[in-house]
Symmetry: C2
Subunit: 472 residues, 2 copies
C-alpha cells in the first residue's frame, strides 16, 4: 500500500526533475508533438489525402525518426535519409530495368540474388569507421528502401509512381522536421558544445581548488564528503565528455548558423581542446589520488608548504576561470598577466621546497647551505619529525582502518598484504613530493590548454577585449 503510493510519486518527481534539469527537453517534446500533428494533417484533411494517398505514412515515419533534439542532428539525419532513399531508389530502378527482361523464375532468382548481395555489401560497408561515424543511418535507410522497392516491385506494376510519391512524402516529412528544428526554439549543437567547454574549464578549476584545500585541511571531519563530491564531479564531467563532445562537434558541423560569417566555424578545435582538457584532468585525478592514498605525508610536514601550494592552485584555477569566461563571452583573453602570477607562485613553491633541504635533494646552492642549515633545522623541526615517525610506524594500521570506514569502501577487511604495505616505512616526504610535482605538472599542462584556447579564439574570430584591459 505504502509502496503503491510511493511509486507514482517517485515517477512524478523523476519526470519533474528531467524537465527542471533542462527545460529545453519539455520544449523539444512539444515540438515533436506539434510536428506529428502537422504531419497527420496530410491524412486528416481530405484534399491532401487524395493527392498523396497511402504514402503519407512515410511522412509520419520520417518525422518520428528524423526529428532530433538539436538542429545539427536533425539536419544530419534528414540528409542521410534523403540521400539514402534517392540512392536506393535509383539502384532499385536499375535492377528493375534488368529484371524486366527476364522470365518469372529467373526474375525471382535475380531479385533474390541482388537483395542478398546488396544487403551483404551495404552491411559490410557500415563497419568502415568513417562511414560508421557519419553515414551509418544513411546506409541503413539505403538497405531498407532498396529492399522495400525491389521486393514490392516484383508484384506491383506502377513502381516508379510509388517511388515518386514516397520520395515526395519523405521530403515533406523532412521539411517539417527542418522547420521545427531550425525555426521553432532551435537547440544548436554548436552552442551546447561551446558552453559545455566553458563549463568544463570551470569544473576543473573548482575541482583543483577543492582538492588542494582538502589536502591542507587540518580538521579532517569538516565537510569532507561534499568537498570530495566537488572534486570528483569536476573531473568526471571532463573525463566522461568524449563521445558526447565528438557527436556534438559532428552535428555542429551540419548547422548553417555560423557559416554565413564567411568561414567554417572551427568545431574540430573544440574536440582538440576537449582532448587537452582530458589530459589535464588525468593530472587532477592523480592529485585526487594523493588525497585517497594509503600512505600519507603527516600534516606537520604538509603545513610547511601550505601557503605556496594553495597559491599555485589558486592561480591555476584563476587562469582556468579566465579562459572559461573568455570562451563564454567569445572574447580574446589575455591570460599572460595571470600566468605571470602563476609563475611567481611556482617560484614561491620552489623556494619553499629549497628552504627545507633535508626534505629533498637540494640544488647546488642548497647543498652548500644544507650542512650549516642542518643543525638549526634539526632543532626546530625535531618535534614534528619525531611525532611523524611515531605516526607512520605505530598508528598506521589504525589510521588506515578508520580512513577506510570513512570512504565507505566495500571490502571492509583490509587484506594482509595491504597492512604489510602500510607498515613499510616509506619516506614521509614521498607522497608530498608527488603532490607538489603533480601541481607543477598541472601548471605546465595549463600552458597547453592556453595554447589551444588561443588557437580556438583565433580560428573562431573571437572579439578583442579592449575594454577589459582598461578596467584592469
Amino acid at each position: 500500500m505504502e509502496r503503491a503510493r510511493r511509486t507514482p510519486m517517485a515517477l512524478w518527481r523523476n519526470l519533474w526533475k528531467v524537465g527542471r534539469d533542462d527545460p529545453r527537453r519539455a520544449i523539444h517534446a512539444l515540438k515533436v508533438g506539434s510536428a506529428l500533428t502537422l504531419v497527420s494533417l496530410l491524412y486528416l484533411l481530405e484534399p491532401l489525402f487524395e493527392g498523396l494517398g497511402k504514402n503519407a505514412m512515410w511522412a509520419v515515419m520520417t518525422v518520428v525518426v528524423v526529428l532530433e533534439f538539436t538542429a545539427g542532428a536533425t539536419l544530419c539525419k534528414g540528409f542521410n535519409r534523403a540521400v539514402g532513399t534517392v540512392f536506393a531508389g535509383s539502384l532499385a530502378f536499375f535492377i528493375e530495368c534488368i529484371a524486366e527482361e527476364l522470365g518469372t523464375v529467373s526474375r525471382a532468382l535475380f531479385v533474390g540474388a541482388s537483395v542478398f548481395f546488396i544487403g551483404f555489401a551495404a552491411t559490410y560497408v557500415r563497419f568502415i569507421p568513417i562511414i560508421k561515424k557519419n553515414y551509418d543511418y544513411g546506409v541503413l535507410i539505403f538497405i531498407l528502401t532498396f529492399n522495400l522497392i525491389t521486393v514490392s516491385s516484383f508484384r506491383v506494376q506502377n513502381v516508379i509512381e510509388i517511388a515518386r510519391d514516397r520520395l515526395y512524402t519523405i521530403l515533406i516529412g523532412c521539411a517539417i522536421c527542418l522547420f521545427m528544428s531550425l525555426f521553432v526554439f532551435p537547440n544548436w549543437s554548436g552552442e551546447e558544445l561551446h558552453y559545455s567547454t566553458a563549463d568544463k574549464l570551470e569544473a576543473l578549476a573548482r575541482s583543483i581548488e577543492a582538492c588542494v584545500m582538502e589536502y591542507f585541511q587540518e580538521d579532517m571531519t569538516i565537510d569532507q564528503k561534499s568537498s570530495r563530491d566537488t572534486i570528483k564531479k569536476g573531473y568526471r564531467v571532463v573525463l566522461d565528455s568524449k563521445s558526447v563532445e565528438e557527436s556534438l562537434a559532428l552535428f555542429a558541423s551540419w548547422e548553417p548558423r555560423h557559416s554565413r560569417l564567411g568561414y567554417r566555424y572551427p568545431w574540430k578545435q573544440y574536440v582538440k581542446l576537449g582532448a587537452v582538457l582530458r589530459h589535464f584532468a588525468y593530472t587532477a585525478v592523480a592529485l585526487h589520488g594523493c588525497l585517497e592514498s594509503e600512505i600519507q605525508t603527516p600534516q606537520s610536514v604538509r603545513m610547511l608548504f601550505r601557503e605556496p601550494c594553495t597559491r599555485v592552485s589558486r592561480e591555476v584555477s584563476k587562469v582556468l576561470r579566465e579562459l572559461a569566461s573568455s570562451i563564454r563571452n567569445r572574447q580574446h583573453c589575455s591570460p599572460d598577466v595571470l600566468f605571470d602570477h602563476l609563475h611567481d607562485a611556482l617560484q614561491a613553491l620552489n623556494s619553499a621546497i629549497k628552504s627545507q633541504p633535508r626534505l629533498f635533494l637540494g640544488t647546488k646552492n642548497a647543498q652548500a647551505n644544507s650542512m650549516i642549515a642542518a643543525q638549526t633545522d634539526q632543532r626546530s623541526s625535531s618535534g614534528a619529525a619525531a611525532l611523524a615517525s611515531v605516526k607512520t610506524d605505530i598508528s598506521a594500521l589504525l589510521d588506515f582502518r578508520t580512513k577506510r570506514d570513512q570512504t565507505e569502501r566495500k571490502t571492509l577487511k583490509p587484506t594482509l598484504s595491504k597492512i604489510a604495505m602500510m607498515s613499510l616505512e616509506f619516506s614521509e616526504a614521498l607522497p608530498f613530493a608527488a603532490f607538489a610535482s603533480l601541481l607543477v605538472e598541472m601548471a605546465v599542462r595549463l600552458d597547453l590548454i592556453i595554447d589551444h584556447v588561443k588557437e580556438l579564439a583565433r580560428d573562431a574570430h573571437f572579439k578583442d577585449c579592449m575594454e577589459k584591459h582598461d578596467i584592469k
Copy 2:
C-alpha cells in the same frame, strides 16, 4: 590519373582491413544478406504472398532494423520493437474505440489531439535516464506505430485486421532475426565483454612495463616512438572503453546463454571492474606524464633506483597478466603468491630510497645515519650531482626544445612563460619522487583490481585451478 588509380586501391585496402581486423564482420554481413533474402521469399513465393499481402514489407523493415551485430543487441532491439508495437497497437485501438462514437470533425480533432499528446508525452519520457538507457528504441517504435495506426485508421475500416497482419509480419521478421543471431555463427556480447576485459588487463600490463622501461632508458633515441605508442595504446584502450563496455553489459544481460546454469551471470561486475581499471589507468597516465614532463630528474639520480623500480613494475605487470589469464580461462586465480613478490619489491624500493637519505626526508633510523652518511655520500655522488645541476640550469632550454621537436607538437615556439618555468631550479628529486609515489599508488590500486576480479570469479562461478597449484 594517379589519384584516380589510387582511390579505389585505398578503398579496397580499407575494406580488406575492416574484414581482417575482425572476420566476424564479414560473417555478420553475410548473415544480414541471407536474412533479407529469406524475408524476401515472403514476397517472391506465390502462396505466402497471398496470405500476408502487402504487410510483408513490415517483415523486411524489421529485419533491416533489428538484426544487430551481437545476439544480445538483437534480442534487446527485437524485444523493444515487439513490446513497443503491442503497446502502441492497444492504445491506438482504445483511442479508435472512443473516436468511433464521434462525428467527422470532432473525430479529426480528437485524433489530432491524441497524436499531439502521445507524441509529446512519449518524447518527454525518452529523456528519463533509465528509459533512455534500456528502452529508447521501444518508445520510438511506440510513437511510430501509434501514429501510423491512429492516422491510417481514420480512413481505412479494417484496422484490426491490418494491425493483426502487421504484428504477424513483424513477428516473422523478429523470428528470422533471432534465428540468424542466435543459431548462425552467433556473436555474444557477453563473450566480447569477457575477453575485452582480459585484453584490457594485458594492455595495462604492457603499458606500465614500457613506461618504466623507458623512464630508465639511458639511450634516449632507441625506439622511443614505438615504446610510447605501446604506453599510450595500453591505457587508451582502457580509458576509452566506458560506453562500449556499458552497452555490451546491457546487451549481455539479454543473452540467454549463461542463465541456464541456474544463476544470473554477473555482467555488472564487469562494468565495476572496468571502472576500477579506468581508475588504475589514470595512474598509468600520470606515470606516462612523468616521461613527458618538462622538468626531469637527471638520469644519474634515476639510475640509483633503476633496479627496484623496474622490479616493482615487473611484479605489477605480472599480477595483471595473471588476473587476465584467470579471467580468460575462467579460473579462480591465486595472485597472493605473486602479490608477495610485489610486496618484496616494494620493500626493496623502500630500502633503496632510505639508503639515499639526502634525497628524501629519512625516517627515524635514517636520520641518525644521515649525518654520518652525508660525508661519504657526498664524495661518491658529487660528480653526478654537479653534472645534474649544470644540466638543469643551463641546458634546460636547449633540452626542452629538442624534446619538443621529438614529440612533434604543433606549437614549436615555446612561450616565454614556459622558458621561465624551465629555468626554475626545482629540486631534482621532486619528479622522481612523484614517479616512485605513483608506482606505489599503482600497487595499492592493484589490490582493488584483485578484489574485484575475485568478486567476479566468485559471482561467475569460475573453476578452481587445482592443477595450476600443482605445477607451481
